[in-house]
């Protein structure tokens, strides 16, 4: 799914990594069922993992906007592996606590806001409410400090693929950059003949 708040440099797609069994060829090839697998390339300098496609990956991505006109523009896109932050789910207690805190800290503005229903929404509230933008649909560059918070007690996190227009990417925050970085560590095998010596 294409992010609606894209600043034209990059868009965040909620495409995930999965295990794939080898499949027979089906026509028209390639398609979502039968296609060449992507290749992953690790850059030890930038510590980024790029994902390379031999064909236009539109058939397997959520986005339908990728190279609609068949002009080959998909070749100008770069795809990277990113980790996705997960925020703690807000509870009723959190909401009540926020209302009470607001009422105590500024009672006059609290009552005036309540009765006049005057909105002082910040971008985060707008995204959560009116535009109906999901967490995973926010462009990396558009993520604010609040969006980068990763405080969920959940054990697991999601990993996604982000697509950017090559050489036209906006400035990434430090946290967004870290979410693109990976450490690849090889395993070592102990030689059985030298075991215990």
């Amino acid at each position: 799914m294409l992010s609606v708040c894209s600043n034209s440099f990059a868009y965040y797609i909620d495409d995930r990594l999965v295990l794939r069994h080898r499949r027979p060829v089906s026509y028209p090839y390639p398609n979502a069922y039968s296609h060449p697998l992507p290749k992953f390339r690790f850059d030890s300098q930038t510590r980024e993992i790029a994902i390379e496609f031999d064909h236009n990956p539109a058939y397997l991505l959520s986005s339908t906007d990728t190279d609609k006109d068949g002009s080959g523009s998909w070749r100008n896109e770069a795809h990277y592996l990113v980790s996705q932050p997960l925020r703690k789910t807000r509870t009723i207690i959190d909401d009540a606590s926020e209302i009470i805190t607001t009422a105590i800290s500024s009672p006059i503005s609290f009552f005036s806001d309540t009765f006049s229903r005057k909105s002082t929404s910040n971008p985060k509230e707008i995204f959560d409410g009116n535009i109906d933008l999901k967490e995973e649909e926010i462009v990396d560059e558009d993520r604010g400090q609040e969006d980068e918070v990763d405080d969920s007690p959940e054990i697991g996190r999601h990993v996604r693929m982000v697509s950017v227009i090559e050489d036209n990417e906006g400035e990434l925050s430090n946290r967004a950059q870290r979410r693109r970085q990976w450490v690849v560590t090889p395993l070592r095998r102990l030689n059985a003949r030298t075991c215990g010596t």
């Binding site: 495409d15 990594l17 994902i51 980790s83 932050p85 697991g156 996190r157 870290r178 395993l187 070592r188």
Partner: protein, 122 residues
């Protein structure tokens, strides 16, 4: 066939072909053999969810299940015909967090041997 030089030349040919082939394999920046992939931001490892082998199983980020990076030999312990990994070495149950680049250049999970693909959520 009885000429021993024919056998030597044959073996030399196989060795050269094997060496050339091994030089041509592109690991795509990943190390040779098996490896784990850790996210810098979350300090979690890529992990095949639930150690499943089914097609379409999601790969997520999960805390490290095995701290050792050394694979030890199989040794008989307690029962003479039961081989387990020597203590202090990697537990094979953590192989769903281990990956490798296969001979075709695809990223694969060690636990199932299946390749990694991208799939739209919707």
């Amino acid at each position: 066939m009885s000429d021993p030089s024919w056998f030597v030349r044959h073996v030399q040919g196989i060795l050269i072909i094997t060496m050339v082939h091994s030089l041509m394999i592109d690991d795509h920046g990943f190390p040779h053999g098996y490896f784990v992939i850790r996210s810098v931001a979350t300090n979690r490892l890529l992990d095949v969810q639930g150690d499943c082998v089914e097609d379409g199983t999601e790969i997520v980020l999960w805390p490290e299940k095995e701290g050792s990076l050394v694979e030890g030999p199989l040794v008989p312990i307690i029962k003479p015909f039961v081989l387990i990994h020597a203590p202090g070495f990697r537990d094979p149950n953590a192989n769903n967090q281990v990956f490798f680049i296969d001979t075709a250049g695809f990223l694969c999970s060690r636990s199932s041997g299946h390749a990694v693909d991208i799939e739209g959520v919707h």
